[in-house]
């Protein structure tokens, strides 16, 4: 069943909070949108409404983490990662156990327009030492990531979530592993690496292109940092061409991370797709995904352009 990853997050946070008393949550006046409210309703003594103070919220989360708590610090992706120096010095530098949660990522937020769209956040967070960067593709992966971050990870992490619903794409029995990626569909002509809101479109594009005799391998690249270099090299060797697609600026995002690996370890042609170094705009999520070619037909068209 399709579900927004922010909703899966809120449900997962309440689930892990019931078992792990060290889990706390903070929000900056967006608890109903980030879905941290699900946790807040069940554990009000462990939820801190910080008001519209993202920088202070991040610093307070750092102080909680340095005292043994596991704080989930929530806002829209653009607002929370916009407080970059606080994340850099108060969270990443001391290796504090803060989970920075950025929801409403990408143009998928829709009508609110560019000022509410996190489009550079992966690049920002990826550049910080100690920081893990994750972006789940569906409900089951979101819940596994949140459980992992609540109970089995030391150090700071950034999780990028969507406002829009995401179709189930993970295979049966899927188990998220930090630094690992999973092949959703095999293929031999080209590999399409997708993450977050574009994974379902990548799967649809592969199905569409199969009808035209183009065999596309699809990989869900949810662990953006650390990245699964082995699977990237394997796909480079086996399919010869790599295509990346994400709801993020093509500069600094998942595609850049893939290109870094390929350049050093196994140079093959790479085509990065995403927001082509532009800001977003208002529109329905569907209309925006169509315009910026991040939906199934758009991704299929860009893959054909790449393959010539």
């Amino acid at each position: 069943m399709a579900k927004a990853s922010r909703l899966a997050f809120g449900e997962a946070l309440a689930e892990v909070g019931a078992k792990n008393q060290n889990v706390v949550a903070l929000d900056a006046d967006l608890a109903k949108s980030t879905m941290s409210k699900i946790f807040a309703d069940q554990f009000p003594e462990r939820f801190f409404e910080m008001g519209i103070q993202e920088a202070n919220m991040i610093g307070v989360a750092a102080g909680l983490a340095l005292s043994g708590k596991v704080p989930f610090c929530c806002s829209f992706a653009c607002f929370v990662t916009g407080r970059y120096d606080t994340i850099r010095i108060s969270v990443a530098y001391p290796n504090a156990n803060v989970r920075v949660i950025g929801t409403h990522a990408g143009i998928g937020i829709g009508e609110d327009g560019n000022s509410q769209m996190g489009l550079e956040d992966i690049g920002l967070m990826r550049g910080l030492p100690n920081m893990v960067v994750l972006q789940p593709a569906d409900e089951v992966e979101t819940k596994q990531m949140i459980e992992f971050l609540a109970n089995r990870h030391e150090g700071p992490a950034y999780v990028r979530l969507t406002r829009q619903k995401l179709a189930d794409v993970s295979p049966d029995g899927y188990q998220f592993k930090l630094g690992k990626s999973v092949v959703l569909r095999d293929g031999k002509d080209v590999t399409c690496f997708a993450t977050g809101g574009t994974v379902q479109g990548a799967v649809a594009a592969a199905e569409e292109l199969a009808g035209e005799g183009i065999d596309v391998r699809v990989v869900n690249l949810s662990s953006i940092k650390p990245i699964d270099a082995d699977i990237i090299v394997k796909c480079a060797k086996e399919t010869g061409k790599l295509f990346t697609v994400e709801d993020h600026n093509i500069i600094g995002g998942m595609g850049t991370a893939v290109a870094e690996v390929v350049t050093e370890k196994c140079p093959v042609p790479v085509f990065r797709w995403g927001l082509p170094d532009v800001f977003g705009e208002s529109g329905s999520p569907e209309a925006l995904y169509a315009k910026y070619q991040l939906d199934g037909p758009g991704i299929a068209a860009k893959i054909k352009e790449f393959l010539g």
Binding site: R46, G51, G59, K69
Partner: protein
Amino acid sequence: MSTAAATDIATMKKIASKARINTIKMLHEAGSGHPGGSLSAMDIMTVLMHRFMKHDPTNPRWEDRDRFVLSKGHCVPAWYCLLADAGYFPEEDLMTLRKLDSPLQGHPVNTAMDSMEACTGSLGQGLSIAIGMAMAAKLDGKPHKIYCMIGDGETQEGQIWEALLSAPKFKLDNLVVILDNNGGQIDGPVEEVMSLNPVVDKMNAFNWHVIDIDGHDYDQIIAALEEANGVKDQPIFIRAATVKGKGVSFMEAKIDWHGKAPSAEETEQALAELSA
């Protein structure tokens, strides 16, 4: 486990004087650093460490210790000197300040030294961290206190005002903030660069328990911290009027001494004054 020592004022003044001497020596050796704010903060830091804070030099990460977050991280040489004097690390390590591979980083780094509580130095951030620590203590039902020192130039940062707005909401009576109001910052007097005044009125309006003292008067510092221990349901804000460069005549109240190391001659003169 350790408890706060009831060190007498005469002894604390000697400790502060020795720490001032070491601060001058280490900044001269390092060739850079911030003497003005280190010296203005020294008396308050000394009273905190030797009269109020529960801490254990043999177990810096003791869970029930009182925390000291130096938000004005550039003044960490003063705290390093007091830590060394208290036995946290050998005094000779002070001369490695700002040098390659030293745990005595130019600004506080918790991953480099167990007795540092956080990473500070990008101004405006330490108070938020201290608030988070105070919240965690409340959640755990622990009685330890969080002391946080902020600078007056630093208080121009927006995040400080977010933090000042938020602490009263959570009734953090285990949080004591000390404003080292030495009146100077790199580009000039705080009053000219970006005035905070009337800062006491502002903090009262923000619903803090405000205490206004002379930050070099030991009786006043002790009385303020004792008063802080009795406050309920409100965070405590101590506005400490201080003198930048306190204790070295040619540094006192001189903006130039915010962030430069003394020469060999200046060091000699400063040490002569401080040893007198």
